[in-house]
């Protein structure tokens, strides 16, 4: 275990100036509408997941949730949920979750800058909803794992079938997860950090 000396550990609120600022790291949680991103974050976060919004006046292209096409200039806001986990050694891990629709991808550049990598949550009933996220992370060579969220603890599809349907490379880990379970969320994050370390090794 790589614990730091206890005098640098995150402790309860002495004046900030009296200690060293935590090292902040982050992981992005992506996936389609209602796939369980906030639940995933909440299962492991030290704080109740917070929500904020990015106001957008960008042009919106692509298909909206109602199934109609919209290419006019619109003002909308995108909710972004996030949680925080204090880790030994004065690391603060932030988990940022945001919708994966095409029209919101522009704000991901902001979110993924400096991230360890991403977890793409997948609902096998609505597989197509994770395509934009997977395309995005692949094209930018950002390490990501695919977590197949098992609603009600039921795995409906074999992992290899999911991998094939997503046409992702064999290097991308695909695993079952359960957004409600702290243990499952933990395993998913561990897989991602391991992948990021392998990539860094190979770089």
């Amino acid at each position: 275990m790589a614990y730091q000396p206890s005098d640098t550990a995150v402790t309860a609120s002495p004046p900030p100036s009296a200690r060293v600022a935590p090292t902040v790291v982050k992981i992005v949680v992506a996936g389609g509408f209602a796939v369980g991103k906030t639940t995933f974050i909440g299962s492991i976060s030290d704080i109740e997941p917070l929500s904020t919004e990015a106001a957008m006046t960008e042009h919106s292209l692509g298909v909206d949730d109602a199934g109609g096409r919209s290419d006019r200039k619109t003002t909308t806001t995108v909710a972004m949920d996030f949680g925080r986990i204090a880790l030994p050694g004065a690391f603060w891990l932030y988990l940022f979750g945001t919708p994966g629709q095409d029209r919101f991808l522009f704000m991901w550049d902001d979110m993924v800058r400096g991230a360890i990598g991403a977890v793409v949550l997948v609902d096998t009933d609505r597989l197509d909803q994770c395509f934009p996220a997977i395309d995005y992370f692949e094209s930018r060579r950002i390490p990501f794992v695919v977590g197949v969220n098992c609603f009600d603890g039921v795995a409906k599809h074999a992992l290899e079938d999911v991998r094939e349907a997503l046409t992702i490379s064999p290097q991308v880990p695909v695993l079952y997860t359960d957004a409600r379970s702290r243990a499952a969320t933990k395993q998913t994050l561990i897989q991602l950090v391991r992948l990021a370390m392998e990539r860094l090794h190979g770089a």
């Binding site: 275990m1 790589a2 614990y3 730091q4 609120s13 004046p15 900030p16 100036s17 600022a21 935590p22 090292t23 902040v24 790291v25 509408f33 209602a34 906030t38 917070l50 929500s51 904020t52 919004e53 990015a54 106001a55 949730d65 003002t75 909308t76 806001t77 995108v78 909710a79 972004m80 949920d81 996030f82 925080r84 986990i85 880790l87 030994p88 050694g89 690391f91 603060w92 891990l93 932030y94 940022f96 919708p99 629709q101 550049d109 993924v112 800058r113 400096g114 360890i116 930018r140 060579r141 950002i142 390490p143 702290r182 933990k186 994050l189 561990i190 950090v193 990021a196 370390m197 860094l200």
Partner: protein, 125 residues
């Protein structure tokens, strides 16, 4: 499940509190940048309510820009501008990681040893 939501009615347009400014050096401020209140800045007398609120929230602990956005119900972009103002005026210090590779989006600042610490930390949860 919070997903795209419509603008909530606001009594004040968000960017009013920034004097209409939308960008500055602050647009590079990461969502997870930590704000630390500097000694002697605690009360913030004479500052507008949003700035005082930031000083209050960050008085006893580091608070990320994204958290301030959520706590103050202000868009990230607005919080970035206000925090940059507070930093210019030496009320706060903003802690960011080392410079990152913006093009790849993947941080060069992430060292193997840092990732190892994170891995061990998550495993021990």
């Amino acid at each position: 499940m919070k997903e795209p939501v419509e603008h909530e009615a606001r009594s004040v347009r968000p960017y009013t509190v920034t004097g209409g400014r939308v960008r500055s050096a602050s647009s590079d401020m990461p969502l997870e940048a930590l704000v630390e209140v500097l000694p002697g800045a605690m009360n913030g007398h004479g500052l507008p309510p949003e700035k005082r609120a930031i000083l209050r929230h960050a008085a006893h602990t580091y608070v990320a820009v994204a958290e301030l956005s959520a706590l103050l119900h202000l868009p990230i972009g607005v919080v970035r501008v206000i925090v940059a103002d507070l930093a210019d005026a030496k009320y706060v210090r903003v802690h960011t990681a080392a410079p990152m590779a913006v093009q790849s989006g993947w941080s060069q600042a992430l060292s193997l040893s840092a990732l190892e610490s994170v891995l061990n930390g998550i495993s021990a949860l």
